[in-house]
Point group: C2
Chain length 428, copies 2
Amino acid sequence: VSKAELSPPRGTRDFYPEDLRLRSWLFERFREVAHRFGFEEVDAPLVEHAELYQRKAGEEIVDQLYHFQLHDRHLALRPELTPSLARMVMARQGALRLPLRWFAIPQCWRYERMTRGRRREHYQWNMDVWGEPDVTAEAELIAALFAATDALGLAPGEVRLRVNHRRLLEETVRPRLGGRDEAFGPLCVVLDKLDKIGAEAVLEQLADPAGPVGLSRPVAEELVAGLAARGLPEAAKGAAPGSPALAELTRLFELLDAYGLADRVDYDASVVRGLAYYTGIVFEARDAAGSLRAVAGGGRYDRLLESLGGRALPAVGFGFGDAVIHELLEERGKLPALPRRLDAVVYPFTEAERSAAVQLAQTLRARGESVELVLGSVKPKRALADADRAGAVRIYLLGPDERARGVVKVRELASGREHDEALPKAPA
Amino acid sequence: VSKAELSPPRGTRDFYPEDLRLRSWLFERFREVAHRFGFEEVDAPLVEHAELYQRKAGEEIVDQLYHFQLHDRHLALRPELTPSLARMVMARQGALRLPLRWFAIPQCWRYERMTRGRRREHYQWNMDVWGEPDVTAEAELIAALFAATDALGLAPGEVRLRVNHRRLLEETVRPRLGGRDEAFGPLCVVLDKLDKIGAEAVLEQLADPAGPVGLSRPVAEELVAGLAARGLPEAAKGAAPGSPALAELTRLFELLDAYGLADRVDYDASVVRGLAYYTGIVFEARDAAGSLRAVAGGGRYDRLLESLGGRALPAVGFGFGDAVIHELLEERGKLPALPRRLDAVVYPFTEAERSAAVQLAQTLRARGESVELVLGSVKPKRALADADRAGAVRIYLLGPDERARGVVKVRELASGREHDEALPKAPA
């Protein structure tokens, strides 16, 4: 086996115990928040039929699909969970209690060029509501998102949410598409690249006559200029009279006010999100300085089920990745110290005390304690130093003398205090 | 998207909430037992370099590799975790506190023909001790395995462990291999198929002059006949004088006696296990009737690290899958009922009570309660029936009258009892 093959594949990670503790801590915060909001956990296969992701909008997530042929099947590692959820909802449509509140923490894969420590896999907390057309669902989801950043120890000002409505954009653009409604998804995908590729490149793609959008250059310019709007009053200026999208946005801010969250959220016309299937409100959470990528992002996708051949069902959700939140917590010095928790080490001085040590360890474990039994023959000094290194609270020292007296010497490792305890009786 | 693409790929599963609750229940039992035994959780990438699994022993696990080419890389979905763990240990060899006690619950993949409901993915609880040559490690692992079957609610007699020692077999076989020591691994892999393909097919493979084992037919027959030995006294009859392997087996039974587990374990010469890398004691746990496949299996693999180019490090571990234990618990009527836990539903009669309902829900959630907020406009009767269907403990009924009085009506759904509670104050 070559050296290269002894590293995790490029873009993937090993989780040593300290890494796994951090991952579990993060996942537990996600689970706990989801549970408080009445969401139920689900999961789907990591490998799906690649066809489930085949959309023609030029989305990055689809271009970077981790896909392969295997025994005449075209398969893919899931790049996102939403299509799998749609599949699951469709399979039981009619039998499920609506609105569904589902969450999951799937590992997702994308095959992208490796830059700046980006990885090819990440975990993503997904929260989705299926079957609720009202913007009350968006408000609940945004509240859950902030409940998570709170639970992770971030201060209210450290993460901000920017929100927009795809139909506000659509109201402006649709008359210019000349009936080619299918161009709207790809148009959003292009607009979403503004930060990454800059205005000129976006304009070129929008106005490319051979591209999927095909706007005239002046219309494209007007559109990009419109992305500068910030705040609801600005949104209102650009909106059509009596715009339902504007009304929904306004209502969302009223709802967020009831949650005490309105001051963490901004209207921002440049938020479009890079998935073609969003149909309504879209949002993304970022660190307040905006120096990192999005911590979380989501939106409403009322037509996804139809596009897969199911009956129409409104839906809205978000994904919250494990990578950027890790960077942010690290940058803020808020990654928790998560030492190993080990209650006791049980140490038989010689093999003559092995049986008694086994019974003692099993007795402590039956009480729910975390107990390491020393497995080899080591010197007392080494056993003590090693228990210290493991971070154990206590060590049970069981020598010939103790065993003869039916006791064990217990040493608290922090204080060095010692006392004797009676040995448990051997099981009948 | 075609109908076939709307099912999970063949051999994979969707986890709806009730399935996920069962999976979480199982994983929590595994975690809790591992924690009591002082094991730390780790994980490794699901995708590895296929080369990590390339062994020439004809193992089923390698023949069924889920592998593919992607951008000039030959990758595989892990069929088992042990090679990844070996990689992780090697990368930090010298810096890790030994013996290492690691556990993991990876999803593993194998591309096999689908028969009798076998799946292409399963989760497998792995427990491994690295750095301990003594059979005390085997004893701890076997104790942890039984602690898990106990924790899952199985009675002591319902799962039995059969144990053997590869070196007992080796002592007999080595003189017959004519110096071709590398044939021993493949020989074990062939012997392991006895149950599946029968004695005649095993004999043919062992005695195939073109195969990797190449025994003479009489030697092969003698070998297969030897697999019938049961119980330590029988093992002793077949063993070489002063056999270290027999001494280890004897000591293992003494240790298991100290754990109170000796009566759940049998010596069985037919247990060989299908992985080529085992070097010492091997074991497998099955339902007492032996009607299902193995619940768990494992053994000592002291030379795996060397075979990958690392420094020698003794190791022993087991894997405990989620599929067979599920079948066994189901068959025994011991799958737990795991209803959804939902503390409360908060129901605003009209949108005028929406803000107060939001604040009430958030207040209950801040206390750690699991709370569904009714998101749409529904009739009271429907809201009550729906809260009942969700299994909620209470519903908070918030109508115009209640809100005017600054209260909410609380109805316990099981008893139908109602009382009023003061509404929480709006946040400042």
